[in-house]
């Protein structure tokens, strides 16, 4: 296969960054959970096992994979020299040794295997997060184009989800529907969790076999991946006609999302967006429900990783990077109705934001068929 435009562009950006940072090579680690740095550097979307790639400033990249089928796949994609390395650490140490007297930045440092970090000085590797992290946050136009396509598929996927959410169906059957849709539309990966029920539901998680019944809230976040870039949509539906309590409760989330989105522009601290969302809850006497007891984050960065920096929290003061993609989602528990979610992926701009999704922000109602 021919290297993609995105890979060629990212490789050039990386070379410039290495030059600027006076680094001779970049060592990146990846697995199916944290695949973003590896994807940026090699364009390989790892699915099984673990990988280490050494990217030279001269443009030569060696990708070590400890799963043979993954190595075959990477070779077929043709972006770099691929080595099947069942003894991954041994192979990486050998590669670094052969690299000679070079300065190597390694990232993500926290996940770099102990078999390498314990001899970091001898191997001449050091934490290289600073080199790559800002590239993962701020997006170029080709990256935003992929995010736009992912957002459009998220919207389409949610229609499939709504159609599937009928009383009597089990939560995992909804996942089956949506995943079949995404695979058939050539989306290789999707992050999603689900909640089904009423006031007893405190959050979303993988399905456990709950059966949808009339009146239930059904929550989900869909996060399809296109060319490595994720976009997320969070929505809540009611099986049947929403009750007044459900509608009134959901109105708080609608107001909070609007407030959060209104606070977004490049340069503002992430905390300002979280505060704008949380102030709405506090105004309705729901301040307890914006704490870590009930909610994890009020949004987060998104890109080659579905949950990247910055986390949108009142104690995170990292500035929002221009042209970064983030999701704003005031998802939390409402004591009157249960756990509700609502969120959209946006691009942060100098004067505000551009929303990538086009889905209505209503509390959806799925008619109960007789």
């Amino acid at each position: 296969m021919t290297p993609s435009h995105a890979h060629i562009a990212r490789s050039e950006i990386l070379r410039e960054e290495m030059e600027r940072a006076d680094i001779d090579a970049l060592l990146v680690y990846g697995n199916a959970w944290h695949a973003d740095s590896l994807r940026y550097a090699t364009d390989f979307g790892i699915q099984e096992g673990q990988a280490l790639a050494l990217v030279g400033k001269d443009g030569v990249t060696t990708l070590l994979l400890d799963d043979r089928a993954e190595a075959d796949r990477a070779r077929a994609e043709g972006n770099c020299e691929v080595v099947f390395a069942p003894k991954l650490i041994e192979a990486a140490r050998d590669l670094l040794s052969r690299a000679g007297n070079r300065r190597v930045a390694a990232t993500p440092w926290r996940l770099m295997p102990y078999g390498l970090t314990r001899d970091a000085r001898d191997l001449r590797i050091s934490d290289g997060a600073a080199l790559l992290e800002h590239l993962l946050m701020g997006k170029r136009e080709f990256e935003l184009a992929a995010a736009r396509r992912a957002a459009a598929l998220a919207d389409e996927g949610y229609k499939v989800f709504r159609d599937a959410a009928r009383p009597g169906r089990k939560d995992y059957e909804l996942i089956a529907e949506i995943e079949a849709f995404f695979r058939a539309h050539r989306v290789p990966e999707n992050f999603m969790i689900i909640g089904v029920g009423g006031v007893e539901v405190r959050g979303m998680a993988p399905p456990v076999g709950k059966v949808i019944k009339e009146g239930d809230l059904v929550t989900t976040e869909l996060t399809p991946c296109v060319d490595g870039y994720y976009a997320q949509v969070c929505r809540t539906l009611v099986s049947g006609t929403p009750s007044d309590t459900q509608l009134k409760s959901f109105a708080v989330f609608q107001e909070a999302l609007e407030a959060g989105l209104a606070a977004v522009k490049s340069g503002v601290p992430a905390s300002a967006i979280a505060k704008a969302e949380n102030d709405v809850f506090r105004a309705y006497g729901l301040g307890d429900y914006v704490t870590s007891e009930y909610t994890r984050v009020r949004g987060h960065g998104i890109g080659l990783f579905p949950d990247q920096r910055p986390q949108i929290l009142e104690d995170v003061h990292l500035p929002i990077v221009g042209d970064s993609t983030i999701i704003v989602h005031p998802n939390t528990y409402h004591p009157d109705a249960g756990y509700m979610v609502l969120g959209d992926t946006i691009i942060a701009r100098a004067n505000g934001h551009e929303c990538l999704g086009g889905l209505s922000r209503e509390l959806f109602s799925v008619p109960v068929r007789g």
Binding site: N31, W33, Q50, R73, P113, Y172, E179, R202, V226
Partner: protein, 348 residues
């Protein structure tokens, strides 16, 4: 991430089975003078923790600590709001949510009296950040690689594992049967139908990949990179059922003559799986089995099983040597027939 069905069912994974697995390890620990064993887990390396607890994280990471006596303790960076869900799907041990699982256990070790030797499964693969957290809080703790110790205990397949593996194999077989029942030869629609079938059957995770043109090569691609589907292609389904992984792959051709030869190869492989001698190396038996199919030549093979933190890992093959096929293995065979690739995987 994992997004399929999660659930613990004692009839499939009895508490007694989990206790027996833990007891084997604790006996081995005492013999190796280890004060504890630590197991790191994430979605790429979940298998050891799920073997001991039944739990696989759907996201994020965690660390399981097994002491010389008692139940294990699991600390995970998953958020508090999913603690209730975790308890529902994890039948044993104490559960704790903390952003720094390693630091939590290191504090415990630092406070303990006496020698402190901590065994770690696949120590070299432990994320450096986890190791640093342990050593920052408990600098006198000696980290010892416990991979061989764990494997000796892990390779005893119990009835629970055999049962989960067999059920996963049925899910995989029925999912790939869509290749026969579907009127469509749209490979991407087939991938979707296979995934739906497996998830409807309560698979915890499904990964379906496609070798789009067997006339060219037999590399399995994800759906976004599989271009130009040819008249012969292969589909591979890797399926997790209750944390136990099974793979199955089939080659398909719209050319009638080639389809008939593919069927002959499938027949030979199925016969081998049903009748193989478990006391003799599988590679040699495979070569004999394919020899019976005119025009077929063996290009490569692998045998995978689960013995560490990976759900499946290669334990034998034409590159690394022959071995007997134990229970809960996956045999993958790559052959050439009439110049076209044929590839298949089957659980044993």
């Amino acid at each position: 991430m994992r997004r399929g069905y999660y659930g613990w069912d004692e009839s499939e994974l009895p508490l007694a089975a989990l206790a027996a697995r833990r007891a084997r390890l604790q006996t081995a620990m005492a013999g190796a003078r280890l004060d504890g064993l630590a197991f790191y887990t994430n979605i790429a390396r979940p298998a050891a923790v799920s073997w001991l607890t039944g739990f696989t994280p759907y996201w994020s990471e965690g660390l399981l600590f097994v002491g010389r006596v008692g139940e294990p303790e699991f600390a995970t960076a998953l958020s508090k709001r999913v603690a209730e869900w975790m308890r529902a799907v994890t039948p044993v041990g104490a559960l704790l949510t903390t952003p720094k699982p390693a630091e939590y256990f290191a504090k415990r070790l630092a406070n303990a009296s006496g020698p402190r030797r901590l065994g770690v499964l696949e120590l070299d693969m432990l994320p450096g950040g986890q190791a640093a957290e342990i050593l920052a809080v408990a600098p006198d703790v000696e980290l010892v690689d416990a991979t061989d110790l764990f494997r000796a205990a892990r390779l005893q397949r119990d009835d629970a594992e055999l049962g989960l593996f067999a059920h996963g194999a049925v899910i995989a077989r029925e999912a790939l049967a869509h290749i026969d029942s579907s009127a469509s030869r749209d490979a991407f629609a087939l991938v979707g139908a296979i995934e739906k079938s497996a998830r409807d059957a309560r698979a915890e995770d499904v990964q379906v990949t496609l070798a789009p043109d067997l006339a060219r090569d037999a590399s399995f691609m994800r759906v976004d990179r599989a271009e130009a589907v040819g008249e012969s292609f292969a589909i591979r389904a890797s399926i997790a059922y209750k944390s136990t992984w099974v793979r199955r792959a089939r080659s398909v051709s719209t050319d009638a003559a080639l389809a008939s030869r593919f069927a002959a190869l499938e027949g030979a492989l199925d016969t081998l799986i049903a009748r193989h001698d478990p006391t003799r190396p599988i590679g040699a038996q495979l070569a004999n089995a394919l020899h019976a199919v005119p025009g077929a030549s063996l290009k490569g093979w692998t045998l995978e099983d689960c013995r560490g933190s990976y759900p499946l890992e290669i334990v034998a093959g034409e590159e690394i040597g022959d071995a007997t096929a134990g229970a809960c293995s996956i045999l993958t065979v790559h052959a050439l027939i009439n110049g076209v690739n044929w590839i298949a995987s089957r659980p044993i």
